[in-house]
C-alpha cells in the first residue's frame, strides 16, 4: 500500500528561477492553483480548485507555511475536506531544491497523511495482537491434538 507521494523533477533552470515559480503568487497560480500564498512562516493561505465530490473534497486546500529556506526548501501543511471546516485530509507538502549541472533538481514530498499515522499505529498494535492470538491458537491446536490422541 502506498502511503507517501514523491516526485523528482529536473528543470533546466537555476534554483532561484524554480524558487520564483514556487513562491510568487502570480506564477504559482499559473501552473498550480489560485492562491494567496506568501513565503512567510506561519502565513495561512488557501488553494482553490474544482471540488471533487467523489473524494469528499470541496475544492479548498487549507495551508500554513511551515518552513522557508530561500532557494532550498519550502514546506506547508495541506488540509482539505468536504466543507464546513471538516478536515479529512491532513498532510504536508515539502519542496526541496538542489542545484545540479545546468539546472535544478526539484523534489516534491507529499506525506504525513494523518490517517496513516493511525494506520501505522494500528498495524503495530495489530502485530502485537496477532502474536497473542497465535499463541492462543497454538495452545488451542495443541490441546485439541492432545485430546485427539487420547481419544484414539
Amino acid at each position: 500500500m502506498q502511503k507517501d507521494i514523491q516526485h523528482i523533477w529536473f528543470f533546466q533552470h537555476p534554483p532561484d528561477r524554480v524558487w520564483e515559480f514556487l513562491t510568487k503568487q502570480e506564477l504559482l497560480e499559473k501552473w498550480l492553483m489560485e492562491n494567496d500564498f506568501k513565503p512567510i512562516v506561519g502565513h495561512r493561505f488557501q488553494f482553490n480548485t474544482k471540488p471533487k465530490v467523489k473524494f469528499g473534497f470541496d475544492g479548498i486546500v487549507y495551508c500554513e507555511v511551515l518552513e522557508v529556506v530561500p532557494f532550498q526548501k519550502l514546506s506547508y501543511s495541506w488540509k482539505g475536506g468536504p466543507g464546513k471546516g471538516k478536515i479529512v485530509l491532513d498532510s504536508i507538502v515539502t519542496w526541496t531544491l538542489t542545484p545540479k549541472d545546468n539546472g535544478t533538481e526539484l523534489i516534491l514530498d507529499h506525506k504525513g497523511f494523518a490517517g496513516w499515522k493511525n494506520f501505522i499505529a494500528y498495524m503495530v498494535m495489530n502485530s502485537g495482537w496477532k502474536i497473542h492470538v497465535k499463541k492462543r491458537l497454538d495452545n488451542l491446536i495443541n490441546n485439541t491434538n492432545a485430546h485427539k490422541s487420547t481419544g484414539i
Partner: protein
C-alpha cells in the same frame, strides 16, 4: 485484522489480547476517530466493525494527488521553458 470478518464487542476483543479492556477501548476510540472502525451500540453492548471505506478513502486521496502532482509538474516545466524563451527574446 480480527475485525475484518466479524463484528465483535469490545469485551470480546479485549478477551483476545494481553491488554486491559480500557486499553483496548482506547485503541478502538483512536481507530474510530479516524474512520477506520465503526462502533454500533446494540442493547447494552458496543460492537466494532472494521470500516474498509476508511482505508480506501485514504488510498483514493493518495492516488489522486500522485496524479495531480505529476500533471502540475509537467505544466510547470512547460511554463518555465516558455517564460525563459520570451525573456530571452526581449
Amino acid at each position: 485484522m480480527m475485525l475484518s470478518k466479524e463484528r465483535l464487542t469490545i469485551n470480546a476483543l479485549a478477551g483476545n489480547f494481553d491488554m486491559s479492556r480500557p486499553a483496548v477501548s482506547k485503541h478502538i476510540k483512536v481507530l474510530h476517530s479516524t474512520g477506520f472502525v465503526s462502533i454500533e451500540d446494540i442493547g447494552r453492548e458496543r460492537y466494532c466493525t472494521l470500516n474498509e471505506e476508511g482505508f480506501n478513502q485514504l488510498q483514493n486521496w493518495i492516488h489522486y494527488f500522485d496524479r495531480f502532482w505529476n500533471k502540475k509538474l509537467k505544466k510547470l516545466e512547460v511554463l518555465m521553458n516558455q517564460h525563459t524563451k520570451t525573456k530571452r527574446k526581449k
